[in-house]
Amino acid sequence: MSETEEKTTSRRAFLGAGLAAGGAVATAGLARAQGAPDPLITEVQPWARELGAGVDATPYGLPIRFEADVVRRNVSWLTADPISSINFTPIHALDGTITPQGCAFERHHSGAIEVSKDDYRLMINGLVDQPLIFTYADLERFPRVTRTYFLECAANTGMEWAGSQLNGSQFTHGMIHNMEYTGVPLRTLLEEAGVKPEGKWIYVEGADASSNGRSIPLEKAMDDCLVAFKANGEALRMEHGYPVRLVVPGWEGNMWVKWLRRVEIGDQPWESREETSKYTDTLEDGTSRKFTWVMDAKSVITAPSPQMPITHGTGPLVITGLAWSGRGPITRVDVTVDGGKTWREARLAAPGQDKALTRFYLDHVWDGSEMLLQSRAMDATGYVQPTKDELRAFRGVNSIYHNNCIQTWWVRTSGEAENVEVS
């Protein structure tokens, strides 16, 4: 394996070394800057003398080896088996808003399957004037649109209900990605088949063995859902539903059916496994909310964070993170460094887009003291992201899904950070 991995010591060993290790790194950087001339500048480096790789060395490029740690990761104890499981986007190491497909989280119920464009069929049936079959080539002939949306798994942050569990924004908030989709509005396809007046719901299902199926109100289907075949300009990846997936903007990821093979129109919901036994939110008194589709406004600081300690010492520090809402654009994000006593409005990298990730920055001068970092998103409806305790007051701790609480990172004087809860 790569050298990087050989050199890797365990995180705990590093944390065990604590201040000493952090201090050593900071000092080393400082010494180079102030002492003897930097050999990286004064000595001719091999890359300045020798030739680099030719074109076509990698016909489809991958990240340079130095970025080998920017990968999806799973938490193996979460599920019985990696085939019906989930992993997490390395949001701690990314910037901007678009998630590269290769590190965008995966969630499969029966594994990621290979379906070619030639073998792909989409059926529309049920309460329609004419049940139809489309091939992939048919879909490419419909007028298409390009839109950017976030996809968040309903269970994102689900492990944090009862207390702080996982150290890293990748693990606490990484069941999310944000891509630019190209596809055909679902409405166009439904109108091609002709929805009968009694049609009120659609049922969407995938071609894999899990036959993940969900009921969606016709109103949403006719509003902004897309039958997408491209993401970030290229074909969808197998793990995200190649060749065709459904896009259900602002609503929980499970509804974005991958390897979409069928859309049925009906007059009532189907109450499938994934909308009754799963993806329902059990409240404190034991009753459960169902059809909790919309993802509430939420944000998280991606750096500094447990996987992204401050290694440069005091002075200028970029605090950055992501914010999103299933109800519309993000209008504002506030950041606190003192656990919520005082807040400052963060700078948005760009105006919030409807149901898409927004990047925020707070340009801070760190004095080296401890910080309790939090971010708080606000969307176009005026909804302000709640604290964990505010959410628990409504839902208890058994909800599993839809945890959009404010996240706290405790940054110590060493620059290392930990996932904590505060009063």
């Binding site: 394996m1 130095f66 390395p90 298409r144 189907w270 109450e271 919520g340 006593k341 290392e416």
Partner: protein
């Protein structure tokens, strides 16, 4: 519906995006044939719409469940490892760590039928006949004391089954309950007097070891850590093993890899393969039976191991053709591979994974 509330900002943004305006149908696609709709439209609703002919009872279902389901869900639906528990858990929904089973949580029996029919058994979906599905679902319902053992489940009787938690669900009420509290002016200064840390993630210590570890970045920051003459990309271990396997027919190995998908739900191979529902299979060809450390084998397998059974290509082929016939009482709930070429291919494939 309030969920579809339109707000000024999104509406304005939407107006700036050009959407295709369609006046009429494009005439694309073709009519779906009734046979095609019948082949794919399997969904079942709580009112029974979509249920096919057929029937089964719990007594019949018990044996089928044992053969097809128990390896993951346990003989009584109690669940093995982290696989779903199907029975019990009554009166736990309002407690810490509720046990959500078909009996304690699922609101509709139709959902059980639909899910078993379309998605189970895991790794071998859509192989059960309608009668078998009725029988297995009857057994699951019986295990939860929802029906008697002689109750015949069919499309006419399924909707009669009273599920314990049928009234336990409410539709999303966040808009009326939570939004009034959370749509507010955020506090910016003097929001609280003091702040105390009340919980630490390190106490639980459940974060995976390889978490993109700061130590990695530290190592890279040191110039010695990445000498310029280092090869651009070292071959991963799997590729390094290739010469050993080059002798086998690549087409056969590819076929074997495909066949192995039937096994992969329970058995792992390759780097870092661990025991799962079944033992890991690195080095299986030529190894003594029942010898993977840490796996709890069935009594018959342990017996065969004591008697000196070795997994040669020949004994493996016999076992894989008919597991329960070859070894009565094995935990491996797999019907067997029907085609000799599939058996040969998967054994060749397994042979590429050394111990």
């Amino acid at each position: 519906m309030s969920k579809f509330r339109k707000f000024a900002a999104p509406a304005l943004a939407a107006a700036l995006l050009a959407s295709p305006a369609l006046a009429e149908k494009l005439g694309l696609g073709r009519a779906a044939l009734p046979e095609e709709v019948a082949a794919w439209d399997h969904d079942v609703r709580p009112d029974g719409l979509g249920l096919p002919e057929g029937s089964g009872d719990a007594l019949t279902g018990e044996e089928l469940f044992s053969e097809n389901c128990a390896v993951c869900h346990g003989e009584f639906g109690e669940g093995v490892g982290r696989w779903p528990v199907l029975a019990g858990g009554f009166n736990t929904l309002n407690r810490a760590d509720p046990v959500k089973t078909v009996g304690s949580y699922w609101p509709y029996a139709s959902t059980v039928w639909d899910y078993v029919h379309r998605s189970m058994p895991f790794g071998n979906a859509q192989t059960l006949s309608n009668d078998e599905v009725y029988a297995i679902v009857a057994y699951i319902l019986y295990s939860n004391d929802l029906i008697e053992d002689d109750f015949v489940l069919s499309k006419d009787t399924l909707a009669e089954v009273q599920m314990t938690n049928a009234d336990g669900f409410i539709e999303d009420d966040r808009d009326t309950l939570e939004l009034p509290a959370f749509i507010r002016e955020p506090c910016m200064e003097n929001c609280k007097e003091s702040v105390e840390i009340t919980a630490h993630a390190t106490v639980l210590d459940v974060t995976p070891e390889d978490s993109g570890d700061p130590a990695t970045e530290v190592a890279q920051a040191e110039p010695e850590a990445a000498p310029a003459e280092a090869p651009v990309a070292e071959a991963p271990a799997a590729e390094a093993a290739e010469p050993e396997t080059a002798a086998a027919d690549p087409a056969m190995l590819e076929a074997g890899a495909k066949v192995f998908k039937k096994c992969a739900a329970c058995h792992k191979v390759g780097d870092g393969a661990k025991n799962a529902t079944g033992p890991m299979l690195n080095g299986i060809v030529g190894r003594a039976a029942g010898s993977v450390e840490g796996f709890k084998y069935s009594n018959p397998m342990t017996g065969a191991a004591d008697a000196g059974l070795i997994w040669t290509p020949e004994t493996m082929a016999e076992f894989l053709a008919n597991p329960k016939g070859y070894m009565k009482g094995t935990k491996m709930s797999f019907a067997g591979l029907k085609k000799q070429e599939e058996i040969d291919a998967v054994i060749a494939y397994l042979g590429t994974f050394g111990g």
